[in-house]
């Protein structure tokens, strides 16, 4: 059977055309739903509370709870399977419970009792229905028929479709009184508690939906004492709580929902959604209804979690019972909220990341005080939490004291030890003024330990932020102590490679054949490998027109030089079309290295005076195509320069000019022009120079200033371009005609008086 209808579905926010909205405070950025965290609730909080772990989703690892109509299915199947002593096929039982219609069930009853000669088609093959007059089967079917009828008003499939009827609420059962009599008869007609509790549940449910709320309360109370406190009990209790809500008796409603929340894990989210103190008086009345401290602790936990006042809730529960396990979830949430300010900025000392708001200070002080008292159920986690918050506040010595205490209190709990170790590592690195060889030896072990979590399935420990922070922080400290190579290995600063000294230092560090263990770790860690540096230097040399050096360096770049360029780099188009060039079939495919060899060949021919116009033109095309404007941008894409930079603003400032500059194409198109043998060649060279002129204008007027990225777009005045003026002098060439056909700007320029 499906489950009770949850109120959640009604609570759909409507537009705020003019109405109200809710300001949601989300964790910064993307990534894990818990934001930034080094403190895993999974280590110490009962997993039944997991929907309420701190998350920017509505429920942790769930998003919205959409299991209203199915959350009890497996439970229910298991219960009935037990009822039949496991002697039915689960598939048949599941179908009957979850899919069969009431009509089919009624036909099965008639078949069982001999009124029908056959089973309905949908149940015809069901083995366990074939044995007629089985008392237990009949009792099941009689109950099932009534339960299915109750589902008509109690269960609703909400679909937001374009059909008004689908948005309407279920109507009441017009014969609810007659149904109630049948349910009562069912209850009274059996001695089996298993069936009695089910009939009772349906009676409460029928009363809730079809009668005044007082009836639901009365039906609940009629038999409540006889019932075991199982899932069905709490489902019934939630209807009674809902009945009090209908009566606007919020104190009682919230009290009973707190019992549902505490007693039934499957209904925790439902109880959460229904728990709504309205005024301070009704909240106090709810507290007064509690018969013991544990009940009060549940209420305070609900307040602390649902209304985001963990500090108040911890204070209250701690006073009631320091050993209460209700504190665990609140502690986890308090720390997880606090640590959102944990910063990746490795250059900032950990203490300066601390948010000094009074609320946070109060939370840290409260947790520290409780940890010092050491009288909670899990003193070690309070010590870890207090140590960690102090560590975030740059109180490293205080943190150590708490960690030492935690270490003594944890006995054999490996997950707890791992959590402790993780925050201890943060404290050690945060505290270090300098990274010396002693700390390097510690780092060697700790880093490998942290990094090892990457390969574990569901590690539970939240290691990723600590690992990233460690890399950046260690790098910042190395940088401060001028150990640039180690700094680079821990956290790469690719812009720094623009400095040749830096690049050479990295080459000698990474290429050093006799490394210490720590240096080996650094080398493995470095995202830039030796081959990446050779490739980068080769590219730099190409843009300096120093081809021999480029070839030498590229041939040291291992497989990187074998990368095949997507387009023919020697193409020169009237209108640039990268996609066209990349899709066109190419007779010869060039790799980065073979391309460089071909450039050398062209340069050699030019030097020898062979077909200078043609070869200079090809050379100019290739130098054009490996800039940002050309068809073979992947030529310069590499580890250091980056990839996918579709806009010059995405290229680092350190390298932008090199990759967008037109000086080499200018140089060789001018050479082609100088050696042109006829008007066709002259016209072509002028036009190609015009393209370079245009690009250079954008380089100088748009891409020269980062502010222009979001500014209104500027456009070159093409009528002022020298290349166009010069081309206009060759109207009788075929090339001129082609340009007129393909280039609207030139066409419109020529058309001007």
């Amino acid at each position: 059977m499906r489950k009770i209808f949850s109120k959640k579905w009604w609570l759909i926010s409507i537009s705020c055309c003019v109405g109200a909205g809710i300001v949601y405070a989300c964790a910064d950025g993307w990534g894990e739903e818990y934001g930034t965290s080094n403190f895993a609730p999974e280590v110490f909080v009962d997993s039944s509370y997991s929907p309420f772990f701190y998350s920017y989703q509505f429920y942790y690892q769930m998003g919205y709870d959409e299991n209203q109509n199915s959350r009890f299915n497996s439970h229910n199947l298991a219960d009935w399977f037990g009822y039949f002593n496991s002697k039915v096929q689960p598939r048949e039982l599941r179908y009957l419970l979850e899919s069969a219609t009431q009509g089919a069930v009624d036909s099965a009853i008639r078949f069982q009792s001999g009124q029908f000669s056959s089973l309905p088609d949908s149940l015809a093959s069901f083995v366990f229905l074939k044995q007629k007059n089985d008392e237990r089967t009949l009792a099941f079917l009689h109950y099932l028929s009534l339960a299915k009828r109750c589902e008509e008003f109690a269960v609703r499939e909400i679909q937001y479709e374009w059909n008004y009827d689908s948005s309407k609420r279920n109507s009441k059962d017009p014969e609810a009184s007659e149904l109630m009599k049948k349910l009562e008869a069912g209850y009274n007609g059996t001695n089996e508690l298993f069936l009695k509790e089910r009939y009772w549940f349906q009676m409460v449910r029928n009363a809730f939906f079809n009668f005044p709320p007082t009836d639901a309360i009365a039906h609940f109370n009629n038999h409540e004492k006889e019932m075991p406190h199982n899932t069905l009990y709490y489902r019934s209790l939630s209807y009674m709580a809902g009945a009090y809500n209908k009566m606007k008796n919020f104190s009682k409603s919230n009290y009973y929902f707190s019992k549902v929340y505490d007693g039934c894990d499957e209904l925790k989210t439902t109880a959460h959604f229904s728990f709504h103190p309205q005024e301070q008086l009704d909240w106090k009345a709810t507290l007064a209804m509690c018969s013991n401290n544990a009940e009060q602790a549940t209420l305070w936990q609900m307040l602390g979690v649902f209304y985001a006042d963990e500090k108040e809730a911890i204070t209250q529960i701690y006073q009631l019972d320091p050993k209460s396990n209700k504190l665990d979830l609140l502690l986890a949430r308090a720390v997880n909220k606090y640590e959102q300010k944990f910063s990746y900025k490795g250059s900032t000392p950990i203490g300066e990341n601390e948010d000094s708001s009074p609320t946070k200070t109060a939370v840290r002080q409260l947790i520290s005080k409780i940890a010092e008292a050491g009288n909670t159920g899990k003193p070690w986690i309070w010590d870890i939490a207090a140590g960690y918050l102090n560590s975030l506040n740059a109180q490293y010595q205080t943190a150590k004291t708490f960690y030492a205490k935690a270490n003594k209190e944890i006995s054999g709990n490996e997950l707890a030890l791992a959590q402790l170790k993780l925050v201890e590592i943060i404290n050690t690195i945060g505290e270090a003024k300098k990274i010396d060889s002693k700390l390097e030896n510690e780092l060697l072990v700790d880093f490998k330990w942290l990094d090892g979590f990457k390969n574990k399935v569901s590690p539970k420990i939240r290691y990723a932020d600590a690992l990233e922070w460690l890399k950046q922080t260690v790098a910042a400290k190395y940088r401060a102590q001028h150990e640039l190579a180690k700094a680079e290995c821990f956290y790469s600063n690719t812009d720094a490679y623009a400095d040749r000294n830096y690049t050479e230092k990295m080459k000698s560090f990474l290429g050093n054949p006799t490394k210490t263990d720590f240096e080996k770790l650094c080398t493995n860690l470095s995202s830039v490998k030796l081959a990446d540096i050779y490739e980068f230097q080769a590219i730099q040399q190409v843009f300096k027109d120093s081809i021999e050096n480029a070839i030498l360096l590229m041939s040291k770049a291992d497989s990187l030089g074998r990368f095949v360029l997507p387009a023919n780099p020697f193409n020169g188009r009237i209108t640039d079309c990268h996609d066209c060039d990349q899709q066109n079939p190419q007779k010869i495919k060039y790799s980065k290295l073979t391309f460089l060899n071909k450039i050398k060949e062209l340069k050699d021919k030019i030097a020898a005076g062979t077909d200078v116009n043609i070869n200079a033109n090809l050379l100019a095309n290739s130098y054009y195509n490996i800039t940002h404007y050309g068809n073979d941008r992947p030529f310069y894409e590499c580890k250091i320069l980056g990839q996918g930079m579709s806009n010059p603003f995405y290229i680092s400032d350190a390298y932008r000019d090199m990759l967008i500059n037109m000086s080499l194409p200018f140089k060789y198109y001018n050479l082609a022009l100088k050696n042109a043998q006829n008007d066709e060649q002259k016209a072509k060279a002028h036009y190609m120079l015009a393209k370079c002129e245009r690009n250079q204008w954008y380089n100088l007027h748009v891409y020269n200033n980062a502010k222009n990225e979001y500014a209104d777009s500027k456009m070159i005045d093409f009528s002022a371009m020298n290349g166009f003026k010069d081309l206009k002098r060759y109207p009788k060439t075929k090339f001129y005609e082609e340009v007129i056909k393909e280039c609207d700007y030139f066409k419109s320029y020529v058309g001007k008086p």
């Binding site: 759909i12 409507i14 055309c17 003019v18 109405g19 309407k168 103190p277 309205q278 009074p358």
Partner: protein, 341 residues
């Protein structure tokens, strides 16, 4: 019916229509928006309708959203009517989230028109009304204007209804960028003009902000009704940050509660953590009240008089709710209309 009798009835009836029409030309109209998912008027709201002779209530029927992961746009929370309190004519208002038009293609627009028309007609039938107008509310941008306007044209074609659309102030200021919607008339939303923040300004109405837009109203080519704010809300502020919007909460909710103290004009401070009106307030949090006093409403009318190209004929107050009505004197709406040129 006997012909003589028919004459006897029809002539005065026609005269009455002519007379009524001429009256309507001169008189200004008071309307309200109704913006809840269940239409049920309480006695105070019914009284406001009767006292102000409100014939028309602009009623939110449903929202439309296109949630990521969905195959198409869907209606959200269609309204449910308690017809026992329904005495007025209803004009359906459909709020469409701008992102719907960010995602839809032209085939989707036609389907959306058909779906909205179908659902709106079903709701109309359920309350036995046959409205002659429908209003669309969408904060469209220059990027969605083409699709939104195409939608409006198509909707007009299939429904043959009079179409109106809400117009926000930024759309009035930049008509060349955001375009003019192809509708019969617009409703100028003269509110929600500021940022929601913990500063001293009001996000609902701020004269200094309004003045930046006023000069552009005159040149807006659509005939405009005006929507005016009578709603209030409060902002829950914690350590300088707005944490929550407390819908419909105002001075009256805090001034007599000992858990709150007045901090300064329009601000309360939480003395003790407490529940109040279903919200939880933490000690030392602050509450900022935003509402539009009568003098500001009059101010708005004066600005509309000064800047509208044609006299405003209809004021639609947002929104009809007991909580809002009790913030003002009973005759406030008549007063506002009387102030119109």
């Amino acid at each position: 019916m006997d012909h003589r009798l028919a004459k006897f009835f029809v002539v005065p009836f026609l005269l009455a229509i002519v007379f009524l029409n001429s009256c309507q030309h001169k008189s200004k109209t008071i309307s309200f928006y109704y913006w809840k998912t269940n239409f049920h008027l309480n006695p105070e709201e019914v009284e406001a309708i009767k006292y102000n002779q409100v014939n028309t209530i602009y009623t939110r029927y449903f929202d439309i959203d296109f949630t990521p992961g969905d195959a198409g746009p869907k209606p959200i929370s269609p309204i449910q009517f308690d017809t026992s309190t329904l005495f007025s004519q209803i004009i359906p208002v459909i709020y469409i989230k701008n992102r719907v038009f960010e995602k839809l293609d032209s085939a989707g627009i036609i389907l959306l028109c058909q779906n909205i028309s179908k659902l709106t007609n079903e709701i109309n039938q359920s309350i036995r009304q046959n409205p002659s107008e429908i209003q669309f509310d969408c904060d469209w941008t220059e990027y969605t204007k083409d699709k939104y306007f195409l939608f409006l044209l198509r909707y007009k074609a299939i429904s043959r209804l009079k179409l109106s659309a809400t117009i926000r102030l930024h759309q009035v200021k930049y008509p060349a960028v955001t375009g003019i919607p192809p509708v019969d008339h617009g409703v100028l939303m003269y509110y929600n003009m500021g940022e929601i923040n913990a500063g001293e300004n009001s996000s609902i109405y701020e004269k200094s902000i309004a003045e930046k837009y006023n000069a552009y109203i005159k040149n807006y080519p659509l005939r405009l009704d005006a929507a005016l704010p009578i709603f209030s809300w409060s902002l829950l502020v914690s350590e300088g940050k707005v944490m929550k919007l407390l819908n419909k909460m105002n001075f009256m909710d805090f001034e007599n509660d000992s858990n709150f103290t007045t901090l300064k004009k329009g601000w309360f401070s939480v003395r003790r953590s407490c529940f109040h009106d279903g919200y939880y307030f933490k000690e030392n949090d602050q509450v900022k009240i935003e509402q539009v006093p009568e003098k500001d409403l009059i101010d708005i009318i004066e600005q509309l008089n000064r800047h509208a190209s044609k006299p405003i004929q209809r004021l639609i107050f947002y929104d009809l709710d007991k909580a809002n009505l009790q913030l003002y004197e009973k005759d406030i709406f008549k007063k506002m209309v009387a102030h119109l040129d």
